[in-house]
Every structure is written in C-alpha cells, then in structure tokens.
Amino acid sequence: MSELIWKECLEGVRRKQVFAIGILLIGFALLSPVMMKALPMLLESQTGSEEIAAAIPVNLRESVRSFAKNIHQIATLLLVYLGAGQIAYERNQRLVFPIHAGLNLRAMIRAKVLVYGGAIIGLTMIATGATILYGMLLLPGSWKPMSIIGWTGLEIGIYLFTAYLIGMLAGSMIRNKVLATVLGSLFLFLLGGIAGFTTFEWIFPTYLMTEANFLIGYWTKPLMGCFLMTVAWCGLMIEAIGWKLNRTNITMQEE
C-alpha cells in the first residue's frame, strides 16, 4: 500500500492537482470577506441608493455563509471533474503495466481516497479557518472561532470529498471525463433537490452543506447521523468504483 500512496502523492504534487485544490479553496476563503466588505460600496455605486446598500447584512457570519455557498457551487463541480478526470487518466491504458505487475485496483482506489480525501478535507478546514480569521480582521462580529472552523470545515470538507468520489464513480462508468463530470454533477445536485423534499434529509450527504450554512460549532443528532450515512455512502462508492474498474477494458483510448 505504501507504494500506491507514494504514487498518488507524487501524482497530486507533480500534476499540480493538490495545488489546484488548495488555490481554489484558499482563494475563495480570502475573497469572501473582501467581497463582503466591498459589497455595500459596490451596490451603492451601482444603484446610487444608500438604503439598499444598508439593507445588506455585512458581518463575519454572512461572509462565512457566502464562502460555503461559493464552495458549494463551484468547488463541487471542479472536484467532480477531478475525480472523473483521475479515473479517465488511469483507465486510458495506463493500468496495463501495473495490472500485469500485480496491481490490486481496489487498493489503488483506496490509496487515491486516502491521499485526495485527506488533501480535500484538510485544505477545506484550512480554508475555513482562513476565511474566518481573515473575516475577523475585516468585518464586524466575533464568535469562538475554533469550534466553527472545526465543524463547518469538516462538514464542507466531507461534502466535497463525496463530490470527488461521485466524480470517480461517474468516471469509472463513462469513458469521457467531461460527460462523466456533467452527469456526476447533475446527480449530486439532483440528490440535494430530492433531499430537500424528504423528512430524512440527513441520510443524504448534501445535508452537510445545509448544516454548514447554520454555522453551528457543536454536533447535533441529525449531523452525526449524516456523518455516519456519508461514511457508509463513501464506502459503498469506493467498492463500486473498484468493482467497475475490474470489469472495464482498460486498453481502450479515451474517446
């Protein structure tokens, strides 16, 4: 397993995928408080109305909400693409030599999950910390930031990790990575829609983003249920990706 983890780390660094995730998340983290601070001035200059500008709440809480919203919309899409792209890259004939050397495809998927899952969750927590701390410098409002950083960061991080896994799953089923990204993203957003109409919203991973918007610094019963369900979903997806790849002709080039 150590050689597989080494390979994934090398790939993440040399193909600059880990940097891309980091720049994306930290970029949003630092931009959110700045945008929040500048929003009333922008609105005033555009509309010429002080009332409209004054009606927009400008505080740390709203800044963190804005960060979570942006991440939900854009980072989700990019992480689905990352997952789909990674599987497309592997199945595009690159597994021929490793498989004959004895590679276990399930072990390879687990190594990817460990390395990228760790990077996604870790970087999201850092980004959440960065947006809160930077927001405290720029905006009014203060809470006990450590618990918020911990819980909100973890909720967003696990949700993004699920998005990455859905991308991988779509990539293992569809050879074209762009099509896999589109279908993976649609599935994820559809899941969010369905979750909103049920009384068991907490069984879906999308509930993590709903909780993240509340900015609560402690655990609740539905949140813990959602964590456990998401872990179960992720485990199932990891197995499904390995199962599907084992039945895929990996000698075919990407269309």
Binding site: E3, L4, W6, K7, L10, E11, R14, R15, N92, Q93, R94, V96, F97, P98, I99, H100, A101, G102, L103, N249, I250, T251, Q253
Partner: protein, 308 residues
C-alpha cells in the same frame, strides 16, 4: 503456452473474431499477421486478460483466461501499440513503482529498474520524466515495463513500428535474447521482414479467422520453387500473356501492370531462358527477368488476396 480454440468476439452486432484457432508452444517467437482491422489487437487484448470474449477457449499455460484472469496476467508482459505512462514520473521511478507493486523491496526494485533500463538502452535517460520521451524511447520503456515482473509470455503489439532502423535492430536483438532466456513471445506486426528475422512460426488472420498457422521454415518448403519477375517496357494486359501461360515451366502468373510474377513449376535453371524465348516469340518487349526467392511478404500478399 498459448492455445486459442474457436475464439469469437463481438462488438455489438459486428463479429470481430470468427472462430479463431492457433497455438504457440513454449519458448517460441510467434508472428501474428493480418491487415488493419483483422482482429490482431482484439486477440492480444483478450490474451492479456483485458477484454472479455464470447465463445471459444483461450488458454495461457494451461489456464483458461476468463477463469483465472489474475494468475494469467501475472504470467504475461504486454506491450500495447502506443503504450501510455504516468508522464510525471521519471523512467527509473516508474520501473521501481511497478517493481514495488509486486512486493519487491526498494533496493531490489531499484536494481531491477537499472538492469531493465540497461537492457532497453535507456540508462542515460533514467532520471528524465517520461512525458519528455520520444515515441521510440516510450516503446523501449514499454518493453522494460512489460518485463518488470519477469513474465514467461510477452505479447508485443507492433513493437518496432515507431522505431528508426537502428532502434528496430536493437529491439529485434532484444527479442532474440529474450527467446534465448526461454521466453515465449507473440509479436503482432506489419513489418514482415522483422517476422522473418526473429520468428519461428506465424499465424495470419483475415477478417477474424485464421488463414495460416505454420512454422516459417516449413512455409518456404510448402511454397515450392522460386518465382520470376518480368519487367515489361509497357503496361501489359493479362490477355496478352495468355500464350505465355502455355509455356511448360509456368504454373501460375500474376499480372501487375508493367510487371508480372511467374511461378515456375520446377527449379529448372533454364526457366528464365525459356521465358525470354517465349516473350520474344510473342513480341512482348521486356526490360529483364529476375529470379525472386520466396519471401514471407510474397506469401502474405498471396494469402491476403486469395491467390492461395
């Protein structure tokens, strides 16, 4: 080592392999020939355990591929026509990674990587990233990757097609060395002179079926006496040569516009003289008559065009 019986493979409604049969004994270098789309790569992918198949049996070292895929794959080294690599890795890193997958220690994997890089002539490029390699270098590296786990059977899909003449000669020498080391090698290629240089036996396929499966040495004997190529001064119609065919020494005549290939019925040294005399009598102007030894290329073209 390889036994393929009645192999069929479908892609939707298209039957790519139609009851293919051939076998390759242990320690042999076997050529696998056929035109584009004949089913060569499909067959190699099935042998390598990457593509499922319908009817028929495919055995590697006595094991049915569909029943013991992983055990079969460990016995095989497969070099695809255009091998793909992790471009961000250096050549030695890649070979060490493959070595480490099969549970070799870091030290052993490093030694094996150096040994293989020396074998394929890439030791000076061991620290270069694979993404910057030329196609020929990638082909050599692919050969090294296929050999990492010391497989008993090597499947090579067009191994010399991307190489310059020197590179081609080196790869053919490498194949000879591997044969001496006891490996069984199946080469799919279009370069018939390569097959003649290194192969012991050959299988020709056309439209998914085997049209020839024989030893190279036996083939030349089966083909009988050599042929003669007549170069005409102008383009000649087949009808004009009708009377020439009645000449006693000709068993077959194949016309190709300004030349024709005459298959002699015996090895008589007088054949060219008899042909020259007959052409003069028919008043057909010609530049010359050249004796042609039997080549695999000739046999290939004849078989593929349905002359035999």
């Amino acid at each position: 080592m390889i036994r393929v019986d009645g192999l069929e493979k479908e892609f939707g409604s298209f039957l790519a392999l139609k009851g293919l049969n051939f076998h390759v004994p242990k320690g042999r270098v076997h050529g696998f020939l056929g035109h584009n789309g004949a089913g060569k790569t499909t067959t190699l992918n099935i042998l390598a355990g990457f593509s499922p198949y319908g009817k028929g049996s495919v055995q590697i070292d006595g094991m049915e591929v569909r029943d013991a895929k992983q055990a079969v794959q460990r016995k095989i080294g497969y070099l695809p026509e255009a091998p793909q690599f992790y471009e961000y890795m250096r050549a030695k890193e890649l070979l060490m990674y493959l070595g480490r997958i099969q549970k070799a220690s870091k030290l052993d994997a490093g030694k094996r990587a150096e040994e293989l890089l020396r074998l394929v002539g890439l030791e000076s490029a061991s620290k270069r990233k694979v993404g910057g390699f030329s196609r020929g270098m990638k082909q050599r590296l692919g050969m090294a990757c296929a050999l990492v786990h010391d497989p008993a059977l090597l499947l090579l899909d067009e191994p010399t097609s991307a190489l310059d003449p020197e590179g081609r000669r080196e790869v053919l020498e490498m194949i000879k060395k591997l044969k001496e080391a006891g490996k069984t090698i199946l080469i799919s290629t279009h370069i018939l002179s390569d097959v003649e240089r290194v192969c012991d036996s050959v299988t020709m396929i056309k439209n998914g079926t085997c049209i020839l499966d024989a030893d190279i040495a036996a083939l030349k004997e089966i083909q009988g006496p050599a042929g003669y190529r007549i170069e005409f001064v102008r383009a000649i119609k087949e009808a004009e040569l009708h009377d020439l065919q009645s000449t006693a020494c000709i068993s077959e005549l194949i016309c190709e516009e300004e030349s024709c290939l005459v298959k002699a019925s015996n090895e008589d040294s007088e054949v060219s003289l008899l042909l020259a005399k007959a052409l003069s009598e028919l008043k057909i102007p010609f530049h010359g008559i050249q004796r042609q030894e039997r080549t695999l290329e000739e046999l290939y073209i004849r078989r593929m065009n349905g002359y035999e």
